[in-house]
Assembly symmetry: C2
Homo-oligomer: 215 residues x 2
């Protein structure tokens, strides 16, 4: 049975899964493209699969999964022999510890700032709500400090976000990094030489052809 992915390419979390599928060269899946602005993710059928009412959701036979990073890990392991190897050998204790460190760094130091920034700058205006300029300023300032650490202490020492090998952790950063450019904050990336080198070194493969089905 083919995979079924419920989400939308407008969602940075869905994009992580699409990029993982692309790196694995998998195109044999059904994509249910739902309209977040119409609140389709809150329909009872989707809430039964994802009670917090967000996307993406993956269905693989009798397995139903949510949370984009969990879905990416699942796909990376299920298809470990296909396409790009996206997770190191986690049976090695030291490798596992460091991989999990870098995976947590993404959520704690990047997503925790870039996601509310995206909310303020992109989604609140779309919903007709006023932006909180003070919060935007604070988020940008803190994110800039974190990116300094990435530039001077992390990406100065290793090529990728989880060591010297490309992995799903790099994919986890990509959609919101891309949004920084769309929000007019691209210089936060391009002004930092090691962050810039990381960003420019990695072009994910094009999303594969998929059978898109509107929900």
């Amino acid at each position: 049975m083919a995979l079924k992915l419920i989400g939308t390419p407008k969602s940075s979390c869905t994009l992580k899964v699409l990029l993982t599928l692309a790196e694995k060269g998998i195109s044999d899946y059904r994509f249910i493209d739902i309209d977040l602005m119409k609140g389709e993710q809150k329909l009872p059928g989707y809430l039964a699969k994802q009670p917090f009412g967000v996307v993406p959701i993956l269905e693989d036979g009798d397995i139903s999964l949510y949370e984009s990073r969990a879905i990416c890990r699942y796909l990376a392991k299920k298809y470990e022999n296909l396409g790009t190897a996206l997770i190191p050998d986690l049976s090695d204790l030291k490798t596992m510890g460091h991989f999990e460190q870098w995976a947590s760094v993404e959520m704690a130091n990047f997503d925790a700032l870039a996601r509310p920034l995206q909310w303020e700058v992109i989604f609140k205006p779309l919903a007709g709500e006023p932006k909180n300029e003070q919060l935007i300023h604070s988020l940008v300032d803190t994110l800039a400090q974190k990116l300094d650490v990435y530039d001077k202490a992390i990406l100065a020492e290793q090529k990728y976000m989880a060591g010297n090998t490309f992995s799903i952790v790099d994919i986890f950063y990509m959609p919101l990094m891309s949004y920084l450019f769309r929000m007019g904050f691209g210089d936060m990336i391009t002004d930092r030489p090691n962050v810039k080198a990381w960003w420019e070194s990695e072009k994910p493969t094009a999303p594969p052809q998929q059978q898109s089905t509107s929900a």
Copy 2:
């Protein structure tokens, strides 16, 4: 060589590691208790180990690790045959996918709200900064909505935060859940029967005796 843990029991992230060690029955470690209010975590020696300047940090021989959840995973795996089993068999694809889903749910739906709430209510006053009452109201409101989902759709179906077995994911919640009581928001837990049952069912073992060394 014994483990070395750098942190402070006042830090909810350090507490996660202390609780993991306690569940494993491990007391043979050296605890470097540093003073966050004096900014000791920003001293060059610690910044070399944790470039974002936060705690905890674990050292185990030649392995140096940061990010509390990564450290807990490392300890749970290293000592998988000791004390409480804290991680399921992640070599099983379906088990791994669901475990990672529940681990991500903690960061996305609980930590992402309870941590900035702790910052506003506890740490800003300690630093002499004014609380942002509007932000507090918004965080409490959103956290209450998320806890409704935990109550009605998650903990109504499973006993623990990552399924029907106690795991490190339960430990991940405990320190900030405990802070909700200290902040005067304990009724967010006790007013929700399934969240209350989960909270009251789980008493972590007492932290073990350890050799505490001030830095």
